[in-house]
Point group: C2
């Protein structure tokens, strides 16, 4: 790809473990170039035990302007943001950090916005509707916040890690009282079924919900980008459901991430 | 410039303070690309107080394969090499580090080789000749080692920091007994006059040697790349001396650096 690379180039990292599979370096660098920035997004492969050291050094590297955070670091990275957005605080995780002009680091989470923008681009409006979200990790928490922030009537959250699930239901219940509760693997009755777990990436994974209880009137969305159409979405499509694959979230999110990388205010 | 940039891209840093002026990121990345590597050399602006933190984090970043080190970090970086070359140890500084397959970091110093390769490319062979070197910092020490390693009959070293000068004369005197001594700003009588100080970069700098004592039969070389022809070289050229500007060193060194970045054995 055609990039600007000089001694004056500003650096952004995408930090994860593993990292080789990420598609953001060329995709987001292309957007940075389109916007006229002399800046690159480069991959950084960092183990969880080394994340704190990496972030401290990134702060001390004066031409590093920001960091995109991916699995498994999104939750841990939040603690390194001097000023997280409300969205990031409620999600309990951050996927993009940016150094402010005052040297303090802002942190936001665009996972929920990207996911819901992707669903909206498929013609589904969550306002006033009901939803079941499976997976209460970093991305799941961000999506849960965004579903409620966009006016869903009610959200049920399911996660086999019940402590993690209960934390999110409790925290978002304070912010959106009466509109969030604990769910299970039965998707019956809701308008939107949203997967935010990695289930479906590996052969032999169970489906995140009981697909025999899906109905063709439901919208089914997935975070998974590999395979392109997850087993859950294959089953949903066979029943006539409208679907959004993970690529929809990724594409909607790319411009949002570059917005935050080039400037972020949290006030 | 046209580069490969993916999640699998291997990273190299050039670390310095300041960093905006360096030309290596595009020059060395172009060589990396030409050799078929999916790898970038990106600038990292790190203050001296943060160098240790930066190097620790670079070691912990699994897709970082090596680091090019520039002013003012070349001396401090040597302490972070698990296995420095003899050349780096005698120079007391390193300008290129590389992670070995065993995870240990090798360190070399190509400044002297680049400088002397550049001079050789201008047709001057230092073997059997005498030389005056001005500047006993990181680059100066590397150049001093290389002048002697290439068979110079005698080398004089001048530096206003006499402690630094004496350290190099002492250390290289053990390795090349009887062939190195303390010099001064008078360049009379030697075959090669080599500047390794920054004098000449700023308006009003004094010349590193007494140019009124230069003779047209001497070869005069400089590390300075800005201005392209330093005031010392302007004076030398006016007297009929053959010269090598800093760009000669830079060009000769680019391929050497990429050799070390892509694989370095110190045994």
């Amino acid at each position: 790809m055609d990039v600007t690379l000089t001694g004056e180039t500003r650096l952004f990292y995408i930090v994860g473990d593993p990292i080789a599979q990420v598609k953001s370096p060329p995709a987001l660098t292309a957007i940075l170039m389109k916007r006229g920035a002399n800046a690159l997004l480069v991959p950084a492969h960092v183990a969880p035990a080394d994340l704190e050291l990496f972030l401290q050094a990134a702060r001390a590297t004066r031409n590093v302007d920001g960091i995109v955070v991916t699995v498994p670091h999104k939750l841990a990275a939040l603690a390194h943001c001097d000023e997280p957005t409300e969205r990031a605080r409620f999600a309990g995780s951050t996927n993009v950090m940016r150094r402010g002009a005052d040297g303090r680091w802002r942190g936001d989470n665009t996972d929920g916005q990207g996911y819901m923008d992707g669903i909206a681009a498929c013609g589904f409006d969550v306002a006033g509707k009901t939803a079941l979200l499976v997976g209460a990790g970093g991305a799941g928490a961000a999506i849960a916040y965004e579903i409620l922030a966009r006016g869903a009537a009610h959200l049920k959250v399911h996660d086999i890690d019940t402590a993690r699930r209960d934390r999110i239901v409790g925290r978002l219940g304070e912010r959106f009282p009466g509109r969030i509760s604990v769910g299970d693997a039965d998707p019956s009755g809701v308008d939107l079924v949203a997967n935010a777990t990695p289930l479906g990436m590996r052969d032999g994974d169970p489906l995140p919900v009981d697909a025999t209880k899906l109905a063709g009137t439901q919208f089914v969305a997935d975070v998974i980008t590999k395979p392109e159409i997850s087993p859950l979405l294959v089953a949903a499509r066979a029943l006539g459901c409208a679907i959004m694959p993970g690529a929809g979230m990724f594409n909607a999110q790319a411009e949002l991430l570059v917005d935050r990388m080039l400037g972020m205010e949290t006030a």
